[in-house]
């Protein structure tokens, strides 16, 4: 296939031919091409179909602002929809397909929508699908959904990897056009730590797209030489293919670097993209400006594009959309396109200039004071109709039309923190307002300065100012002489009387839609945007917003600045969700915490469960067990009958030391700790400031000035944070020091009638752990395995005679093996979290389900634990009337009257005879299980005045599932209510 529209020159590498496919057809391009430039060179103007009317569309721009030429890149799981052909860097084997068409791009069945365009105007959906109401979900929405959207996705997981990164610099320069390069040279030579970022793969901005010289070399050469010098400076980092997405707080910028998008596949282990967070002292926005189109009848045909884009394709990529072109402009810059293309040998049919005083710029015809009133060519432009200054109409044959309506400074990033741009009459465009994000300055075209020489001067001056602010001496920079033409523009937004003058080509919004919105009183810009969809979707209206505002201003008799702009928000360009996720996906979504006995548990074939980030053994299936209940029932019964072992390392452990440690715990806990003797453990309940129960646990006193506090697994971090807050902010004068030791000690519960006998085989003989020497709630430092330091606590969650024994974590694996070995003669069992849960419910111990953020000590049956003899956090507010009503909820147990019935957690309780509704609600089940000891399901939960209703039969209901049966109110302590076992 020959490249029929390839011109001479350009910055492509003709020695590096590349082969690619578009819609199944193979084409040739060159290294340095984009997909759009290569397609144009191959004579392909038709690249996509529009969103709503499926109108044939070609490329409109040469950059990231592209609204039309959106394609699906790659195939299989790597397929990416809605990719801009203008930014897709060509590589060998690139595969692209057009989208939103069926069966083919040239013949698209849904183009019939265009015929009904009179109906499909702004607000069509809102007005049409209002009735009948029931039709929306079943009929309208499915049909609309099917027709909606542009590209398609593979529905497969993204096969690529993304990284997130952090960079720091003195100065971030955003944009490497003439302004950015001059600024980077100034700041770089001054020694500032500079990052220069540009979304393009070739740095230089418009210098690569123009023919004028910079000094004694071409603009592109000057840019390349400057970039080479910058890259050689150790204090300058040049980041190509990097889009700055947003200006965030404190001088932090978000950026996406496309590391591998220009390769067929990323290298093994390397990311496709990196989302950078760039911490800056100062930032200089040199983002340049974007050309804007003019609205006229049928201005969306393939071949009609921005004049600057046409010039860029010719100069940088040596490609022209057609061999005969025309230009439609309202300013001098449009003439440059005609001159450049003529110089490349392309026939310029005419320059149509809306200004009466249009300059004569070349050997081609200039039609001053003329307007385009229509165009022809279904799949590609054939000709344009021109209304001459004298009123006559002329048809001019051309295959492409460059349109220039003036330039809009790229103010986006200046507005990310709600800055308002200001209107400048002389350039007919918005420039950055006075309030900029912290540390940001703006230079060059982004500031509304358009001549290249002035841009470079502006960049250098801004950098000099920043250097001065940051205390870096700035050597004088000799800037080369270059293009310095003044801006000469007469605003012209759209040709009057056009019926279908497209403003937002991505969303198929016409000037007429804006009129309709105005007519229906959607005059605020934000309403205009939502009602017409002007400026939505992937391009966010980069080429359409200002013309839309201009028309709204005209209609409402206002000035453009009075109409204002919509809010600019990050990201500046579309960003892959994968880049936002980074490596945090699939099994790496969050870290995993493993217990000290994890390796051993894996060997046993344990079933694991996620508890927060912890992986805990849930139960240990044995051969022949086919249902988890069999394993759990066995673990429970064996523990209660002999002895069971459980890894309880996950419970939070906080080391509390200092002369005021006891006084501090007196503040933290509702019950008293000051008088706890050394060598003893006490159960403690801590309240939030508002009197609600926060967490429970134990505190063991190892010395007068040393406690070890335990927390629930779930609250290990919140409790530690709370205690640090109390220490640092509420009682800074207390002598107390805190540190977490959760992970430092491997802790195991050994529970059951044979617990002591088992431990006596493990604990070194010199430590007496008999009931007399080491009674219930004792604690102490002991040794195991012939001299390894360990800690022993006589505490019980199961209600059995039980201990918790802790060794330094690296010996946790050895400890579990030792306990299992020593337990063999007692038929000891290792149990998981399920059995742990069953036994604590049987014992009526509260856990996270009961400490659910709404319950008080009173509800838990621990009202009297809140000491009135001292002040503790939450004690005063726990006395609030509302928390102490006569019929307050109380934690009690429930047994089904028919023992076959389940007792599901979450079910609600109703007094028999009362209606089942919220007004008569009596409480709810918080935790439930099957108790192998009682041979039936049991539950614990909160019941109004529950402590006085023991023996009453109430209804257990769940209107959602149809559950309704009777349960008896019993003590929450199903097993050993007197506590004899744990003291044995």
């Amino acid at each position: 296939m020959t490249q029929v529209n390839r011109l001479s020159g350009g910055l492509i590498d003709r020695n590096a031919p590349l082969s690619f496919r578009f819609d199944g057809k193979t084409y040739q391009g060159h290294k340095g091409d984009t997909l759009a430039s290569a397609l144009l060179a191959n004579g392909v103007r038709l690249m996509g179909r529009s969103f709503k009317y499926h109108r044939p569309r070609g490329v409109m721009t040469a950059g990231s602002e592209e609204p039309n030429a959106l394609v699906e890149l790659r195939s299989g799981a790597a397929q990416e929809p809605n990719t801009r052909a203008t930014t897709a860097e060509l590589f060998d084997g690139l595969e692209a397909n057009s989208q939103n068409r069926w069966p083919s791009l040239a013949w698209d069945a849904l183009a019939i929508n265009d015929t009904f365009s009179n109906f499909l105007t702004a607000g069509f959906y809102y007005k049409t699908f209002m009735w009948p109401r029931a039709f929306w979900e079943k009929l309208y929405e499915p049909i609309i959904r099917k027709a909606a959207g542009l590209g398609s996705i593979s529905f497969e997981p993204d096969p690529d990897q993304y990284d997130k990164g952090f960079r720091h610099c003195d100065l971030l320069i955003i944009g490497a056009g003439p302004t950015g390069l001059a600024a980077a040279l100034t700041a770089g030579r001054a020694g500032l730590d500079v990052i220069l970022a540009d979304e393009d793969f070739a740095l230089g901005g418009r210098l690569n797209a123009e023919q004028f010289d910079v000094g004694d070399q071409s603009g592109a050469h000057w840019a390349a030489n400057t970039v080479a010098e910058l890259a050689s400076l150790p204090n300058v980092r040049v980041m190509a293919r990097t889009s700055i997405l947003g200006a965030f707080d404190h001088g932090i910028y978000g950026a996406v670097e496309r590391v591998s998008d220009h390769l067929a596949r990323p290298e093994a282990g390397k990311p496709r993209q990196i989302l950078w967070r760039i911490y800056t002292k100062r930032a200089l926005l040199c983002a340049g400006a974007m050309e804007r189109p003019i609205g006229f009848e049928n201005n969306d045909r393939p071949g009609i594009m921005l004049a600057s884009a046409m010039r860029a394709y010719a100069n940088r990529w040596a490609a022209t959309p057609a061999q005969e072109i025309a230009v439609f402009t309202n300013n001098d810059d449009g003439h440059r396109t005609a001159a450049d293309l003529a110089a490349k040998g392309v026939t310029v049919a005419a320059v149509i200039d809306t200004r009466e005083n249009a300059p004569k710029t070349g050997s081609y015809e200039v039609l001053a004071g003329a307007e385009i009133t229509g165009t022809q060519g279904r799949l590609g432009l054939r000709s344009v109709d021109v209304k001459m200054a004298n009123g006559q109409t002329r048809r001019i044959a051309c295959g492409a039309l460059g349109v220039s309506g003036g330039w809009n400074p790229n103010v986006h990033l200046t507005c990310h923190q709600r800055g308002k741009p200001e209107w400048r009459e002389d350039i007919a465009g918005f420039v950055p307002g006075a309030v900029l994000p912290q540390g940001m300055s703006v230079a060059g075209a982004a500031q509304g300065i358009f001549p290249t020489a002035a841009c470079m001067m502006s960049g250098a001056e801004a950098a000099t100012d920043i250097c001065a602010d940051l205390g870096a001496p700035t050597p004088a920079i000799d800037l080369p002489s270059t293009e310095d033409a003044p801006v000469n523009i007469t605003p012209f937004w759209h040709v009057q009387g056009a019926k279908r003058a497209w403003l937002d080509q991505q969303n198929d919004v016409t000037a007429k839609d804006v009129k309709l919105a105005h007519q229906e009183n959607f005059v605020s810009v934000e309403h205009l945007k939502r009602y017409t969809t002007l400026g939505m979707a992937t391009d966010q209206g980069k080429t359409s917003n200002i013309p839309g505002l201009a028309i709204m201003a005209e209609l409402s008799g206002k000035q453009i600045p009075q109409v204002g702009t919509t809010i600019f928000r990050p990201p500046y360009t579309p960003t892959a969700i994968g880049a936002l996720a980074g490596r945090s996906r699939d099994e790496d979504f969050r870290p995993t915490r493993k217990t000290p006995s994890h390796v051993w548990a894996e060997e046993q074939g344990a079933q694991f469960v996620e508890v927060g980030m912890w992986l805990r053994a849930q139960y240990f299936p044995r051969p022949g067990e086919t249902h988890w209940r069999q394993s759990v029932d066995r673990e429970v019964l064996q523990t209660r009958n002999s002895v069971g072992i459980c890894d309880v390392t996950t419970l939070g452990k906080i080391d509390v030391q200092g002369a005021d440690a006891a006084a501090f715990l007196n503040k933290i806990y509702a019950n008293g700790f000051a008088k706890l003797p050394v060598g003893k453990v006490r159960y403690g309940l801590m309240l939030r400031e508002d009197g609600i129960a926060m967490d429970d646990g134990t505190a063991a006193r190892f010395a007068e000035d040393h406690f070890v506090v335990t927390t629930t697994t779930a609250n290990a971090v919140p409790v530690y944070r709370h205690m640090e807050f109390v220490r640092q902010c509420l009682f800074p004068n207390m002598d107390v020091q805190l540190i977490s030791t959760t992970e430092a000690w491997a802790q195991f519960s050994v529970a059951g009638p044979n617990a002591r006998k088992l431990l006596q085989k493990v604990v070194d003989a010199e430590h007496d752990i008999s009931n007399e020497a080491f009674p219930y709630m004792a604690c102490g430092q002991i040794t195991v395995a012939n001299g390894l330091r360990a800690r022993l606590f006589r505490i019980s969650f199961s209600g059995e005679l039980a201990y918790e024994i802790a060794v330094p974590t690296r010996y946790g694996d050895a400890m579990i093996r030792k306990l299992v070995e020593a337990g063999k003669e007692f038929d000891a069992v290792v149990y998981g979290t399920e059995a742990l849960g069953v036994m604590r419910i049987e014992k009526g111990h509260a856990a996270g389900n009961e400490l659910n953020g709404t319950t008080t000590a009173l509800n838990l049956g621990m009202g009297r634990m809140v000491s009135k003899k001292k002040d503790s956090i939450g004690s005063t507010l726990s006395e609030r009337d509302g928390l102490n009503t006569e019929d307050a909820l109380k934690l009690v147990g429930f047994k089904p009257v028919d023992t076959e019935h389940p007792v599901p957690a979450g079910a609600h309780l109703m007094t028999k005879g009362d209606p089942v509704n919220a007004a008569h609600d009596q409480g709810y089940i918080t935790s439930a299980c099957y108790s192998p000891n009682l041979g039936c399901h049991i539950g614990i939960g909160y019941l109004k005045s529950g402590d006085t209703r023991l023996g009453e039969v109430v209804r257990l209901v769940s209107p959602l599932t149809g559950l309704d049966h009777d349960v008896e109110v019993v003590s929450a302590h199903f097993v050993d209510p007197e506590g004899e076992r744990l003291r044995a």
């Binding site: 493993k594 020091q737 010996y811």
Partner: protein, 186 residues
């Protein structure tokens, strides 16, 4: 001597060592750790305790000091002291005795896992791991940061030797994060 066999934070019998892209990534298990926090009003004494033990000035905020025995700053008047496990297995007890009522000492050896990265382009590795800027940093920097959601200390022991100290229970996740970053270096 007791008869328990230890396992490393990664769950192995011996520390794991890997070389990728010219960077040696190694699990380090031969150091004992103990936290030292000054008692109220005893800040200078606690500092002297740390300094005396490591035979170097107690590190200021954000710094690490010492060599055979060392310490890094973890908060106002708080340090983590490091010493060879072979000679200081029960480091906390040793320091606690010296501290008397000047400082609170807590055993931390097994609360953490440590991975050292040595050689190669460490700047490139760390810039995709955490906000610690190795380009600007120097030997002796000690920073608390977050790596893949894990609270870690990043210690610059030498210009081209960095220790990452993170929570022991997540050693596998942390090692995976470090290994992935080392592989991603261009």
């Amino acid at each position: 001597m007791h008869d328990f066999v230890e396992i490393t934070p990664l769950g192995g019998g011996a520390p794991r060592v890997q070389e990728i892209n010219g960077i040696v990534l190694s699990e380090v298990t031969d150091r004992a750790l103990a936290s030292v926090a000054a008692r109220l009003g005893q800040e200078d004494e606690a500092k002297a305790l740390v300094s005396g033990f490591i035979e170097a000035p107690a590190p200021d905020a954000g710094r690490l000091s010492g060599s055979a025995k060392s310490a890094f700053w973890t908060g106002p008047d708080q340090w983590m002291v490091e010493a060879p496990i072979e000679t200081h297995e029960d480091l906390a007890a040793e320091l606690s005795e010296k501290a008397a009522s000047r400082a609170s000492v807590t055993e931390q050896t097994d609360g953490w896992c440590r991975f050292d990265l040595e050689g190669g382009d460490l700047v490139a590795v760390f810039e995709i791991l955490c906000p610690v800027d190795l380009r600007k940093g120097q030997k002796g920097d000690a920073t608390r940061t977050s790596i893949d959601h894990l609270g870690c200390f990043v210690l610059r022991r030498e210009t081209d030797l960095v220790s990452v100290i993170g929570p022991r229970s997540s050693a596998g996740s942390l090692f995976h994060a470090l290994e992935t970053a080392v592989r991603a270096v261009r």
